[in-house]
Amino acid sequence: MRNVEPDESDQHLQPDEQVVAQAHETAQAHETAQAHETAQAHGTIILDTPACTSCMLCVRECPVWCIELSSHTEQIDEPGSRRPRSVAVLDTFTIDWGLCMFCGICVEVCPFDALAWSPALQPSASAKSDLVAGIDALSIDR
């Protein structure tokens, strides 16, 4: 039989404390990960209107054709230029959330980063037509 050292009970406690500390760390890491996940959540898609050049890439690449846009060109006559410069101006831009698959292809293909993910939850609606969002609804920084 070996002698029981008085401080052996402390040694017994130590691993438990380690387990508790580890559990706390794990819980904290989990909370941090969850907060990160919420911040990065693909909740809805927002539009940076001035960045949009009406290039139609998002409209064409959307697998469900839920994006529609219209635009017109304006002539900008800059002093000293040889001829007026043509600029596309965005008139309307709509996303039908009732069709959208939230796949993010539009966000990926946009060459000017005019479309971006927002963690905000896309709210439900009592009518289908309320799910069609225009420039005003899409431009809100959520």
């Binding site: 009732g98 069709l99 439900s124 009592s126 289908k128 799910l131």
Partner: protein
């Protein structure tokens, strides 16, 4: 198939914790992948299974409140399944409300142009609330149920 759907919708009944004003019998009718998010909402405690008859009788004053039967349809509805969905809807007690959960139930989603898919469940039954997403997050389900509780249409418009 109609019997299977009827059983699915009738046996699973849930309540929303934190929303005592919404005494909703939530019946889940999962036709495709969006149904997984309903399960996620249940596993996270956002929805709790309906208490037994005895337990609900013991609630007391709340029992006087009107209970709304909410049918949550998630997934792709094919034309072939429309009569089955209609039967499930007609099997609910009044007042009742239907929730279209996900792109397929709202508009047919990626299958909007398919000959076999209904472009939205509102072609078969009246819908009270549309929840966008592919799939919508479990939080979206709770948000929609909250909207359902707030809107007066629950008892009126929904037939």
């Amino acid at each position: 198939m109609g019997t299977i759907l009827g059983t699915m919708a009738l046996i699973r009944r849930y309540r929303v914790p934190g929303m005592p004003h919404l005494r909703a019998h939530v019946a889940d009718l999962g036709l495709a992948c969006c149904a997984v998010e309903f399960v996620a909402a249940v596993s996270r405690g956002l929805l709790v299974p309906e208490p037994t008859e005895d337990a609900s009788a013991a609630v007391g004053p709340e029992a006087d409140q009107q209970t709304v039967d909410v049918l949550i349809v998630s997934g792709t509805l094919t034309h072939a399944l429309e009569p089955a969905l209609l039967r499930v809807w007609e099997g609910l007690t009044q007042p009742r409300a239907a929730l279209a959960f996900g792109a397929c139930t709202i508009s047919g989603g990626p299958y909007w142009d398919s000959y076999a898919v209904a472009p939205g469940i509102d072609h078969a039954i009246p819908v009270t609330r549309y929840v966008p997403g592919c799939p919508p997050r479990p939080e979206a389900l709770i948000e929609a149920l909250a909207g359902l509780a707030e809107s007066s249409v629950t008892a009126g418009k929904a037939s």
